[in-house]
Subunit: 461 residues, 2 copies
């Protein structure tokens, strides 16, 4: 007869342990389909337990469908067709996936973490957790914690001259999450994006099932004729400092794009991703700031100014879009953790964010000057042409070379250097010229700059 | 001549202040299109500044397109077509949006926050920030912090008997975010969901542009015939404890669904949302645990066991899906903040999570017993029929009443009570019977239970 050592049950109730033993053997096939289980009385006697214990175990197995009770005949192992064990390879033991570590990464902008006042953030975190411990657990409203939205609105009113109230602000878990939300807000509409442009925007929109149309740029930004021809109802742009071209869209073009939106009943998503770091000269007013018709959605994140690891960004919706937003997206929970929202609210409203931005701007400005000077004094100075509109954390550098971009990239990667080319950002084949590097210089502080110059000398020459 | 009080510039450089004054007046229309600006020398003299200051301000305005420089004629205000100022209402002053506060909410499960060891969480947060301050800022890999994925995999190996390695785990900012990712993973495939079911699942899939087919349930869960007829390639289910019906899918049906996936080359998303709180009897093995063919994606969150405000959930992908995941979704940044991932990793690997779960299970078990006893001793006991499969945080309660669900709801809301009806969760009209309440009892501790009984007496009788 079936035997289980019930002394090994480690504190579990007898019936439960017995049930688990039986189930294990049924699922493994050790007890075959159709096999009759021992009668309750004799099994109980054999195991030295009460028949009630066996009853309880059998009942549970019957309830789960692992055993069939046939009236007056007893209990039988059910016919459980086990899936083929061969198809899926067993998991290999854990080890972190190797990630490519770059000696030098000119493709992404990561300002040194040492500039961020981690101590202040830690202090504010401790303060929230001691003053209001349940802030960690309480859900925040769909659009985000009110205090945070008010802090963001206050910042935008004071530093961008935007006329914003907290009720227009929606928090999201970073830019990509916000793109996914916008795709749902504008479901059914075709979205125009800049070409060349930031590929994540296209990928998020396409992944959300949206129609996404790359629109060519001229010297002032999105070309209105191409925009009209696209048939798009929504335009996603970065007029303050386009990525990767660095274009700053001048006022008349901004007005023209606003007119397009108004006369077509369309909308413009103004992705202001790096405008906090536009240091010289003063940035133009945002589209959102000159929009009187409620046609512009302003969007920004804290990824460039604090860290991408924070995963916090926000939209400012025009009043007219709030009802549609609530209808289509109001069911989502706020995707940013509550605790982080409380801490970020205090970080902004306490003035720490502004102070950090001032330091950051100063560092970036100095870094830019140093990078430009070093490149112009380098051995490859005669073979480059730097286009430098004085905003944001990157600039374009045309290289006089016979090598194709892919050859340059291979030479760079062999040196542990990651490069970005303008051609990487084109949505359509040939949508951007070759031989133009996008230099993301935020990380080129201290000795990194010397390393970069040396590496580029080896790659370009 | 134009006059600005340059003493009001509050520390800004003279040229910049002048430029901003001019721009403000151009954009507001105070300086009309075509108007000639004062000559640089006379304007400088008039304002008491150097001509260089006026030059700098004018140059900036020209660069931005707000002013045109006409050779040998001077500077003119550009023709900026200002949008109509009437269309968008000005924002109203800030005030938190009123949110409906329920005296009693039987629609959502919120265990008292007092059960969670906030002090431990705070201590771990402080420790991360002091031992590794840059953890706040460093980006984590796309799938999430390795240490956290390893902690989750270890938990699943130890407590669910799942054979999981960290490389299969993907973190996401809560269940809804993971639904959006899954919709992108299975782009082009029709997804079947349970009907009745959790409406957020349908809404997320539909919002992502996926085809989403509600499939009827029989007494064991998803009906295989209806599933086959749906033509879906992917099935999203909660076999451990379906929401809202409370159905536990028995083993033979689980096997049948696995077979469906294998023979169709399909996949099953196993949403195990509340299985940590299935307390009596022991839960069945997960679909993922008996899947040998790599056809099941396991999914869970910390929303029920810690708090929805944490916004953290995860998927376990079968090995065979990892390449497709990387191709379609590998470009996304991890949507959970880095700091939170570090703290959660320590919370799980330090054994704090298990201890918390044990306390939580005990409380929920006691609460369930108390709620059932109180309902059965109530004045409405003779008019209810409770269906109670002994898993998770809710049960169904059929009410013998002539009132329609909407009438019951109105009576409840008049008392500040939020009810959930089975019929609320039907995707198709008539997809669920009336008069069945979904009782989410996790919040009914202490005096809340007495309040609930009293309120239900008033509503039902």
């Amino acid at each position: 007869m079936l035997t289980y050592d019930l002394t090994e049950r480690a504190g579990a109730p007898l019936y439960e342990y017995l049930y688990r033993c039986l189930r294990r053997d049924i699922l493994s096939g050790k007890l075959a389909a159709g096999e009759r289980l021992p009668g309750r009385r004799s099994f109980a006697e054999h195991l030295g337990v009460s028949p009630v214990t066996v009853d309880a175990a059998y009942s549970q197995l019957v309830a789960e469908g692992c055993v069939e009770a046939r009236p007056r005949r007893g209990y039988f192992v059910a016919a459980l067709a086990l899936p083929d064990a061969a198809a899926e390879p067993p998991p290999t033991p854990g080890r972190p996936e190797p990630e490519r570590r770059w000696r030098l990464d000119l493709r992404s902008n990561r300002v040194d973490a040492s500039l961020f006042p981690v101590g202040t953030w830690a202090k504010l975190t401790r303060r929230v957790l001691s003053e209001d411990p349940e802030a960690l657990l309480r859900s925040v409203p769909h659009q985000g914690l009110y205090e945070l939205r008010e802090a963001i609105a206050g910042y935008l009113r004071g530093y961008k001259g935007l006329s914003v109230r907290a009720g227009q602000v929606v928090l999201g878990a970073g830019a990509e999450f916000l793109y996914l939300m916008l795709a749902q807000l504008f479901r059914g509409a075709a979205l125009a994006v800049e070409d060349p442009g930031y590929p994540q925007i296209r990928r998020c929109y396409l992944g959300s099932g949206a129609e996404c149309i790359p629109v060519a740029l001229d010297a002032q930004g999105v070309d209105p004729a191409a925009l009209r021809a696209s048939g798009a109802a929504v335009l996603h742009i970065s007029p303050a400092h386009q990525y990767p071209t660095g274009l700053v869209t001048p006022m008349p073009r901004r007005q023209e794009l606003l007119h397009w939106a108004e006369s077509n009943g369309g909308y413009i998503i103004e992705d202001d991703y790096d405008s906090e770091l536009a240091f010289t000269p003063r940035p133009l007013p945002t589209l959102s700031g000159i929009d009187r018709a409620g046609r512009v959605i302003y969007m920004n994140t804290f990824s460039q100014t604090i860290a991408p690891g924070l995963r916090a960004g926000f939209l400012v919706l025009p009043e007219r879009l709030l009802p549609l937003w609530r209808e289509r997206l109001g069911f989502y929970s706020s995707a940013v953790p509550s605790l982080e929202q409380h801490v970020l609210a205090r970080f902004i409203s306490g003035g720490f964010y502004e102070r950090h931005l001032a330091r950051l701007r100063k560092t970036c400005r100095e870094r830019r000057v140093a990078v430009l000077a070093a490149f112009r004094a380098s051995a490859f100075a005669g073979r480059i042409d730097i286009r430098e509109p004085g905003a944001g954390l990157h600039f374009l550098m045309r290289v006089d070379t016979a090598l194709a971009d892919e050859e340059l990239r291979a030479r760079a990667e062999a040196r542990g250097v990651r490069l970005a080319f303008l051609s990487d950002y084109a949505a359509r084949p040939g949508g951007a010229p070759e031989h133009v590097l996008v230099i993301n210089y935020a990380g080129l502080g201290g000795e990194k700059l010397g390393e970069a110059v040396e590496a580029l000398e080896g790659i370009i020459n």
